[in-house]
């Protein structure tokens, strides 16, 4: 009898250790996948692991990184922001309009209008969502407004502040990466060290419990959409700087790429789980896949399929994580 209980206890112990190890591996999953991809692509293409190419990847993914951070905040509270791609486009258009009014303050006005557009649309998104109107509405409306304001065509006009004066092209191309680094660091601090950021996770963990404990749930949700709008504005700033134009058709389907990146980066569709670092890793996985497959001359169509597979694996890992946690609880 005594032996039986002891054995039972021990097997309980080992399987608990096994489960917690498995959970840790799953949580490290995104980083492992990225490392694996880098190794494979380095072996497959001599050009892949060169400074030029890697900095190229970073510049390429900069707008997506902003959109992914935008998306992360909304996914953390258990929502999805379908409008970020359209907001990006609207921001480039309002920026080009502002530039057309005159280049006040060396482009500060243009930059301010771009970011303000994002913030305002984000706030509207949040208020509407709290009242039950989904961001699907803004996906259409913001795109429509962008096309309307731009007369359906790209508007030449350059927000100069998004294009630093340095003549060296390398400085110009590095600018988006600096924006992402700065904004990413701020978002990281906000989510990990600031009380309001903690509340974002609690609201995502359990809205009802958060409400009962006295957290201003609706305000947290609205603030998350404001941040999302601001991030979309930054993505618009980078895009406008790169295309030198207000681009009403920019960012189409980017909201889906951003969602994919965030989920690949280990966030949960159910809310309350995910990190800025993870989202960035997800974006890098995205960027590395498309860059590597380009280098290997793989068709763009096939790239989409590969990304689809990675998303499926990421979601499956999340489901697996939940199942393991359930098992863990019953030990």
């Amino acid at each position: 009898m005594a032996t039986a209980t002891r054995t039972l206890g021990r097997t309980g112990g080992t399987s608990a250790q096994g489960l917690s190890l498995a959970l840790r591996v799953i949580r490290a999953g995104p980083v492992l996948i990225l490392a694996l991809l880098v190794v494979i692509l380095t072996l497959a293409s001599p050009y892949f692991f060169t400074g030029d190419n890697l900095s190229n990847v970073l510049v390429q993914v900069a707008p997506l990184a902003c959109l992914a951070i935008a998306q992360l905040f909304v996914i953390l509270v258990g929502g999805i922001d379908l409008s970020v791609g359209s907001v990006l486009a609207l921001c480039t258009v309002t920026g080009a309009l502002a530039y057309g009014w005159g280049d006040f303050g060396g482009g500060i006005l243009t930059v301010a209008v771009i970011l303000l557009t994002g913030v305002v649309v984000g706030a509207l998104n949040g208020i509407m969502l709290v009242k039950g109107i989904p961001t699907l509405a803004t996906l259409n409306a913001a795109r429509g407004l962008a096309l309307l304001l731009a007369d359906g065509a790209p508007m030449p006009g350059i927000p100069p502040s998004s294009r630093p004066p340095a003549p060296a092209s390398s400085a110009r191309s590095r600018f988006p990466v600096l924006i992402v680094a700065g904004f990413g660091a701020a978002a990281w601090i906000f989510t990990t060290r600031i009380q309001w950021g903690r509340w974002v996770y609690l609201v995502g963990g359990d809205k009802e419990a958060a409400r009962r404990i006295g957290i201003p749930v609706d305000k947290v949700i609205i603030s998350v959409f404001v941040i999302s709008g601001l991030s979309a504005g930054l993505a618009g700033l980078i895009t406008a700087g790169r295309t030198d134009a207000g681009y009403p058709s920019a960012g189409q389907l980017d909201e889906l790429a951003a969602i994919s990146a965030v989920i690949i980066g280990g966030a949960s569709f159910w809310g309350g789980r995910g990190t800025v670092g993870g989202a960035i890793v997800g974006v890098l996985i995205f960027g590395v896949i498309s860059n590597g497959l380009n280098l290997l001359n793989v068709s763009v169509y096939l790239q989409l399929i590969v990304i689809g597979v990675v998303v499926a694996v990421a979601v499956e890992l999340d489901v697996l994580r939940r199942r393991l946690e359930e098992r863990f609880r019953t030990i």
């Binding site: 600031i194 903690r198 996770y201 609690l202 009802e208 404990i213 309350g272």
Partner: protein, 268 residues
């Protein structure tokens, strides 16, 4: 005689045409553990929802530490020193014990930044450790997410949080209903210690054994009305059950006589 921390007089709550509570009066004394008994639909839930600010009462008076109040919201209840642990526990599965203890009231600095302040994890962790030690709650791995804990550990964390932060009154809704014998024992021990930490307890439970183990006094509700009260002892067991189910005239008769009457006399 200990001071009265909570006094409810003539409390009524109506949902449409039905009375969930009708003219209920009771009191809770300092350092007391009061059991609230009653069948389904007796009005226990409505009463604790009113006391924790989830629903507002229609008629009657609530006095907290002698002061008449109308409890407007859960936040207001917290401010009055009332903490409630509902059956769903209101725990956040995606964070650990420390995160749950301080959920919504994280320690931050500087204070003028409000909710944009810097979270002081080290202080929160230290204080949680101290609290758990003081309450003798054993939790394996403080970094383990609450979602990975067993029912008993979760209940213990929720109760410990309420006892730690409740300044006057802790209300526990069926704290042992989903637990095995050993886990229930741990939670009951925690409840018994609550008065030492300066709080009075109202505990709602179906389990008469558990009530007899922890409660100093039991109030019985039936169909929204106050039926009677008595000391929950082995000898009074059958009387309590009779009051709860309302067998014949006895149930009403018990209102006056016996230990219940004694209590009633002490109240007036």
């Amino acid at each position: 005689m200990a001071e009265t921390v909570l006094e409810v007089a003539g409390l009524s709550k109506q949902y449409g045409a039905t009375f969930a509570l009708r003219d209920v009066s009771l009191e809770l004394r300092e350092g007391e553990i009061l059991a609230l008994l009653g069948d389904n639909g007796a009005g226990k839930s409505t009463l604790i929802k009113i006391l924790s600010g989830v629903v507002a009462h229609d008629d009657g008076e609530i006095r907290v530490a002698g002061e008449a109040v109308r409890i407007e919201s859960p936040k207001h209840a917290h401010a009055l020193g009332i903490e409630t642990v509902f059956q769903d526990l209101a725990l956040f599965d995606n964070t650990n014990a420390v995160g749950n203890f301080y959920a919504g009231r994280e320690r931050t600095s500087p204070s003028w930044l409000g909710a944009l302040g810097w979270v002081d994890d080290r202080a929160m962790r230290r204080q949680t450790d101290e609290l758990l030690e003081r309450l003798q709650v054993n939790i394996p791995g403080k970094d383990t997410e609450i979602g990975l804990m067993s029912g008993g550990q979760r209940q213990a964390v929720a109760c410990a949080r309420a006892i730690a932060f409740g300044r006057r009154i802790v209300i526990l809704d069926e704290p042992t209903s989903a637990l095995g014998a050993r886990e229930a024992g741990n939670v009951l021990r925690l409840i018994k210690e609550a008065p030492e930490h300066g709080v009075s307890v109202i505990v709602v439970s179906h389990d008469m054994e558990h009530v007899m183990e922890v409660a100093d006094r039991a109030v019985v509700l039936r169909q929204g009305r106050y039926v009677g009260e008595t000391e929950p002892t082995q000898e009074n067991h059958e009387r309590l059950v009779a009051m709860i189910v309302g067998t014949g005239e006895d149930g009403r008769a018990e209102n006056g006589g016996g230990p219940g009457g004694e209590q009633a006399a002490a109240r007036s």
